[in-house]
Symmetry: C2
Subunit: 553 residues, 2 copies
């Protein structure tokens, strides 16, 4: 169901499967025609015709979530791994509200997501019935494209346009469709009133997708000449890599350019998606700490931003600039659809004979596998040593990942990491869920800070229901540790009331019990040996597993 | 913490407690001056100065929630019981998004809530830092009043204006403040940029609240003459009672008018707040099923709406009108601030010698206390018989409450019920949490459908942390039962994929384990005897308790 009350016993019998099909079936079929094959669903009354259509379009796989925040984050995770959008199925404004934060993450990551939101029947709007809200305005605050369907005859076109817009916006292409909003991102929201769903189509099914004049390749000048000139100029160039420039080949091309030209190469902070591990070049993420990033970039004359926004401080600080590049730095922006090809071209032209470097495999973490306590500094070594091949990591480790995790992962088997693209917390469990649906053969690990684990915890239930190979590692330090420094700077350190608000230990959370309540087995680990053993149990378990890692200070 | 990533190590040392105080302290002090004494908090970096201010204004009680949906719903529950707003403390747009659905419920119920939302420093906006969003527009979709603070010198005035607006809007008074939005309701949102929080006030603390010309008594004609005339006319009158006309005295006055004039008397569907129980007149809620309500009201010539909107169908249905009153019905609207006094005046004038009726106490449910299975039809009898005196009930029982619960509760000890004001699910646990904070001497029971329990389940942790006397009864039927009929009408009954989307039994949820994981003890009950025993255990337990009631079909 969904975020709102449902039920109402007065809907007419459905028109079912016969004849032209109703608008609901048109929507689902059009999504499938557009290569959208998974729908993360949390439906209510206004979506029941859409639910009933699912058996009639069996190519669509519905995945039930108990909370829209899970559905939205799972769609994000799915698309980060496949490059293709999944659909969500959300119930009115209330459902959209719960989904908002994880849609924000998708927006910030440029990830394509197609929301199908059931709405009251057109005739019902304006009556101020209990769930009425201004859905367009709400959706517009986090969507790059919004449309309200008006007829069963045209709703298939609307659904195709939504998918086309999500894909085009994600690629960084210009979209001139009237539904395009100023928020950017590649979240497309189609509002489907119940009467559109239940009405039978009478016109022929339209087949045209969004017309070509609504989506075009970037009209800006090709960035290649400017990028090549900068790299040849002798000035300090920084290549900053986003999700569209994060494949193995991209990393190797960037590394070759670094060797050949002296360019700095970094990945964006908390990358939307990136590769890391043995045999790949070692490329650092820009630090979360703004001052560190500012220092790294202080001599940069030209920044080439490959599918990533200009680096700025996450938060303001009194008297310090929010921009982290020097004021005189020239910036070359490269959209997602051009990022990989540009790197390849530049490497071929400027570093034709340079071989990429490759991170070595280190000894298997034996020195940390004592019976000693697990800490924020050593858990990553144990985890990296145990990581199986071809893994996917959903990384919401926050402070627990800031003390050696990334160094350790550099020497693990190559893997994909999906980071905190928009900094809205509660994405770890959903992202892992969606990635596991996207890549059924690959093991998925969710590195989950304790303070943000409860937002979307019901995603564990979906993992159990779908028997997904996801291992959640809760990194329990008993507090919102990332706020410690903040509170000190705000003059609140040592003040009992303020301290209590960043303390999660009264009572402490028992995540093994919580997981068991949703059908996910688990184990507690307080030492390196226990963590390694728990990871072994997780690998031997069919379906999801949760490890509650208790970190000592 | 909050819905977003936090941290950043570069804020300046706070100006602390000395001198004029910073903007953060001004906000908290102004809230306290305006009789806002509880803050349901889920703060992040942009709220750290506000957190640090809490120890300097000890009259404010902060209550930590692990999810903004809990904070918002708790503020709603607190205000429903006290009539005064609590504050929430939310982090940027992401925090506001998670809070949206329960703010929607508060909006629909006319409940005053004051949101304090931390925002990026003014200089930081426009840089498109990771958590930037259009906070005004987002807040405006669910708030009756929105303002962005601009200076530490005036933020105390802003905070006072927020409280004044929430109180005035809740009372149904006209508010002409420029921040008033078209969404109605009494949710007031004050956006506080971090620089306003961290800057020291240099002007004298302003003392004026919102000026009198911004809030006025309703300019409409007093509804008393029209209401009295309608009741005297001989035509069929319906009195429909909302939260502002739900006290014992209100119910008795309405009952006397019913006896004296033949008026129909109903409470709104899923009342925001109402009284019920032994010794009070029996007044039915309007049914959730629209057709039943339409039949009840089909001969009404005049409807007197006492602090409640016109009854309409919750959802549309093909070919049927959404309005439930006959088209020719005249409507008299009575705002909250006038509802009780009007009922008293009308009863005194039209039913001076009529005594109110009183529901009797029935036998203590002995006939249902067999070892037989608990069902949707009998659990309410067991619960009603065991209800202690002076209880508060948060009712999100949904379908499990539609088969005899209300009849049973009519004969329980008198109690307050807080219903699903805006139909957005996930309010049961938070509302109970806030009500328990509001009324520490009273036992609180949350009747919680299983399908909506996971949205805000982390509220159990706050209940444990605050040692609140809340008993949560999970009503487990293993499915989104309210969607059964919807799916059938949509033609989806018996279709395996569609059926799977309203089925929660794969895997089944173990709520006792989930509660234990958050520090809340619990018990399972599958028979009437077990439910009675579990309720006894709950009463004997200091702090919260959870009962997982497994209902048989």
């Amino acid at each position: 169901m969904s975020t709102s009350f449902h039920g109402e016993t007065s809907l007419e019998p459905a028109d079912g499967d016969e004849g032209g099909g109703n608008g609901a079936r048109e929507v689902v079929a059009a999504l499938v025609d557009s290569n959208v094959e998974v729908m993360f669903a949390n439906p209510g009354t206004t979506e029941m015709y859409l639910v009933a259509a699912l058996d009639r379009v069996p190519e669509m796989r519905p995945v039930l979530c108990q909370f829209e925040g899970v559905a939205a984050g799972a769609a994000d995770g799915y698309a980060r791994m496949t490059g293709r959008p999944a659909a969500t199925l959300l119930h009115l404004g209330a459902g959209f509200g719960y989904a908002w934060p994880n849609l924000h993450n998708a927006r910030r990551g440029g990830t394509p997501v197609v929301n199908i939101v059931g709405e009251h029947a057109t005739s019902h709007l304006g009556l101020q019935s209990p769930l009425e809200s201004d859905l367009e305005t709400l959706a517009g605050t986090v969507s790059g494209w919004v449309r309200r369907a008006t007829s069963a005859n045209s709703v298939a076109t609307d659904a195709r346009a939504a998918v086309a817009a999500a894909n085009a916006l994600s690629a960084g292409r210009d979209v001139t469709d009237p539904g395009t909003t100023s928020t950017g991102g590649a979240v497309a929201t189609l509002i489907v009133p119940a009467d559109v769903s239940w009405t039978r189509r009478v016109a022929p099914t339209p087949t045209a997708a969004t017309s070509a004049d609504q989506i075009s390749d970037d009209n800006d000048a090709d960035p290649a000449p400017a990028a090549a000139a900068a790299l040849r100029s002798g000035g300090q160039v920084a290549l900053i890599l986003g999700a569209g420039s994060s494949s193995d080949d991209d990393l190797r091309a960037a590394d070759r350019l670094r060797q050949a030209t002296g360019a700095l190469v970094y990945a964006e902070t908390f990358p939307t998606r990136r590769r890391r591990g043995v045999g790949l070049p070692v490329i650092a993420d820009l630090p979360f700490q703004a001052e560190q990033t500012r220092q790294l970039l202080e001599k940069v004359d030209c920044a080439i931003l490959l599918d990533t926004p200009e680096p700025v401080a996450a938060f303001a600080a009194p008297g310090r600039p929010g921009r982290l590049l020097p004021a005189q730095t020239s910036i070359i922006r490269v959209p997602r659809h051009r990022a990989s090809s540009l790197l390849a071209e530049l490497a071929a032209a400027l570093a034709p004979d340079v071989r990429p470097t490759a991170a070595p495999r280190l000894a298997a973490g034996g020195d940390v596998l004592s019976a000693g306590a697990l800490t924020a500094k050593n858990w990553g070594d144990v985890f990296a040593a145990a990581l199986p091949e071809d893994a996917i990591i959903s990384d919401e480790s926050i402070t627990s990942g800031m003390f050696g995790l990334i160094d350790a992962m550099t020497h693990a088997h190559p893997h994909d990491t999906l980071g905190q693209a928009g900094y809205a917390i509660g994405q770890g469990i959903p992202i892992a869920t969606g990635a596991a649906i996207a890549c059924p053969g690959r093991p998925v690990f969710n590195l989950q800070a304790d303070g943000s684990a409860m937002y979307t915890v019901s995603g564990l239930w979906t993992q159990a229901r779908e028997n997904l190979d996801v291992t959640t590692i809760i990194l329990d330090n008993g507090r919102y540790a990332i706020l410690d420094g903040e509170l000190e700077r705000a003059g609140g350190a040592g003040l009992p009331m303020a301290e209590s608000l960043i303390n999660l230990s009264r009572p402490s959370l028992n995540f093994v019990a919580i997981a068991r309540g949703m059908g996910v087995p688990g184990a507690i680990a307080s030492t390196g040996i226990e963590l390694r053993a728990a990871l072994g149990r997780a690998r031997a378990t069919d379906g999801p597993f949760l490890i509650h890692a208790r970190l000592s200070a």
